[in-house]
Symmetry: C2
Subunit: 388 residues, 2 copies
């Protein structure tokens, strides 16, 4: 490999996640991107490219080709602008490709982000149908399976194989709702109890309402620079590892549905590049689209042995003051999950934490953070490791 | 910039373009990709990533997240696999990003391609509606504008400003239909006359049926390698220049709708990187989704002065044996335009030509070729320059 250049994140921006009835993805992204530009205190004219993630705008907004659309609205109409779509990992993938382009020397300053407009007048059924674009149309959607059903199947398998309990799933939700209380941009500011979670209405058993992330609008953006500018910023946060993996898009094609192999591959690649191990990670933002997904994520990332993620949450190890704080932002569960924005939103949280600017959410002394973004039921995953 | 590594195309594959009533985009892409792998004579296990373009599968096939879907079907289920969507420039953008990742040293062997399933039982209206995702929903689609109308507006402006004639538009179509006669993979094998073109039914005046490319199914793929493997192949074709530009997604935002500024930017970048000028190009595959688009392309690429592209086709300069052969493959007009596949399909044609293996289509002594891929009405454009 040729010598790669240092890449730093020097500006972050995020909208409030939740219902934005009068905004589309363009208004949402403009807000996040302008915040990132302001946060970096750079002249936007220096931005050389836009890497943008969006998953379901083609269906919910009848709008694709969002790369140049978003660049134009920011006053950057002539720069290369790309839309990435890997389901809910769209902006994680965008971030990784931007990292390639900067590390290699093609660009010195890049805007990376994602946005999703999901709350529509048509409601949950339409959104569930649109999200199912990220599953296998032939073998899953046409058989009636959408994501709650897919993750319910995964949860049942994990419970059977490892003894993971519905209480442990509920504990993930309780923790993330609690964490979100300190996040002003979170979709929910409402603490829940184990009993609330266990007694909520079933969505796809064993998953109940509080096991599922909400439908949220939102956007997130970061400014990334090469080593040419890295040291000109006060607290640049370096990307020290980047990994991506894939797996069968349908569950039926997987060897073991209790694991997300794409994420394990992504993690191995990222840890190796960064020269760190799971023990070195001070906090992680993981893709908890459903509570079971967080448990599997913490296993696949090496924070717990395979099968012991349920025990980990039960023993409090993933709490903000635990051994490995997971989703101190509130996670997808309580911060919200505007799908195309999520991968970059996770990184925004890490940057705030590594700068020591996360306020009440601050994980004391955090130096290395990890972001774990998953598309579909695990066909795509990216892992990024950041260091202050 | 760090030292970039040489990148070569060493395998190509393409399906017949046209109606494939019993195939979806996955079957189409598998065919093209396996052909590319066979053409390169490589062990597919060596492929490290898939860069894949698709534009409207979310709507026409209810299938997104096609990166890992396509990788899986090729026996490559664990590799990073990305879907790019920049309307009709989706696979041109994919190719450029793959070039970055190889030139920089992240990968040594990558599969790049695109596919589109467009011919459905529902017919032209549904496809026109899906393609309109690549225009501005807010300011164009909701005002009733789809692509034939947008390009008709461009054509009227070009005719008024430069005296371009309907006959000159027809000549583009006649030439490309003639060229396609020698392309076994072309959608159409039917020569037409100027009169046929001028007397065809209007689609959006001044554009008539033969001014518009058809709705086609198809896929294309290439194998790209780094300099590590470059010289192990018999006739590697080097990518010596790569450019991308953007512009306002809506026509109303443009300064001058008779030019596609995104393509002019992309061309400048690619020429500079390659160290060549328009005079050095032996043949070009350009994005003739409508006949007027070919005329504007040949101006923006510097083959003719601005406003003189119409005269250029009239004087035979763009014929296969002319000064600058344009679309010897038949172009989008007659080869067909499965939109997500088009950018890579253009490159497949160039590789055949630069290898000297294009049979009856061969441009004698071709050493340098150029591919010009446009998304929407010009919000995205990529230009790639290849050398044997």
């Amino acid at each position: 490999m040729t010598q790669l250049r240092k890449v730093g994140i020097v500006g972050i921006g995020i909208t409030k996640f939740g219902k934005h009835l009068e905004k589309g993805s363009r208004e949402l992204f403009y807000e996040a991107a302008f915040k990132a530009i302001e946060d970096a205190s750079i002249d936007p004219k220096g931005i050389e490219a836009l890497y943008f993630g969006n998953a379901v705008g083609s269906v919910l907004e009848h709008q694709a080709h969002m790369g140049p659309l978003m660049a134009e609205g920011l006053g950057l109409r002539y720069i290369p602008a790309i839309r990435f779509e890997n389901a809910c990992a769209s902006s994680g993938v965008a971030l990784r490709d931007a990292y390639f382009a900067i590390a290699s020397g093609f660009y010195d300053t890049v805007l990376v982000g994602g946005a999703e407009k999901m709350v529509t007048e048509k409601g949950t059924l339409e959104v569930t149908d649109a999200l199912a674009l990220g599953a296998d149309n032939l073998f899953e959607y046409n058989a009636g399976l959408t994501f709650p059903g897919l993750y319910a199947t995964i949860a049942r398998a994990h419970m059977k194989k490892y003894g993971t309990t519905e209480e442990q799933l509920a504990m993930v939700s309780v923790k993330n709702h609690k964490n979100a209380m300190d996040n002003p941009n979170a979709h929910f500011h409402k603490e829940i109890t184990i009993e609330d979670a266990l007694n909520a209405r079933p969505i796809a058993e064993p998953l109940k309402l509080f096991d599922c992330c909400p439908i949220s609008d939102g956007a997130a953006a970061v400014i990334m620079v090469s080593e040419k500018y890295f040291n000109k910023f006060e607290t640049p946060i370096e990307i020290i590892g980047s990994g991506q993996g894939s797996d069968s898009i349908s569950l039926q094609g997987r060897k073991d549905i209790t694991r997300i192999v794409s994420a394990e591959i992504a993690a191995r690649t990222a840890y190796k590049m960064a020269g760190v191990t799971p023990e070195d990670i001070d906090l992680a933002e993981v893709h908890d689209c459903f509570t079971i997904a967080e448990i599997i994520a913490t296993e696949g990332l090496g924070f717990f042995k395979i099968g012991e993620g349920g025990k980990g949450v039960e023993e409090g190890e993933t709490q903000k003051d635990g051994r490995i704080p997971i989703n101190v932002s509130g996670g997808l569960k309580a911060k919200g999950h505007p799908v195309g924005a999520t991968g970059v939103a996770q990184v925004v949280e890490l940057v705030e934490q590594l700068r020591g600017e996360a306020g009440k959410r601050q994980v004391s002394g955090a130096e290395i953070g990890l972001a774990h973004n998953v598309g579909g039921s695990g066909a795509t995953a990216t892992v990024h490791i950041l260091r202050r």
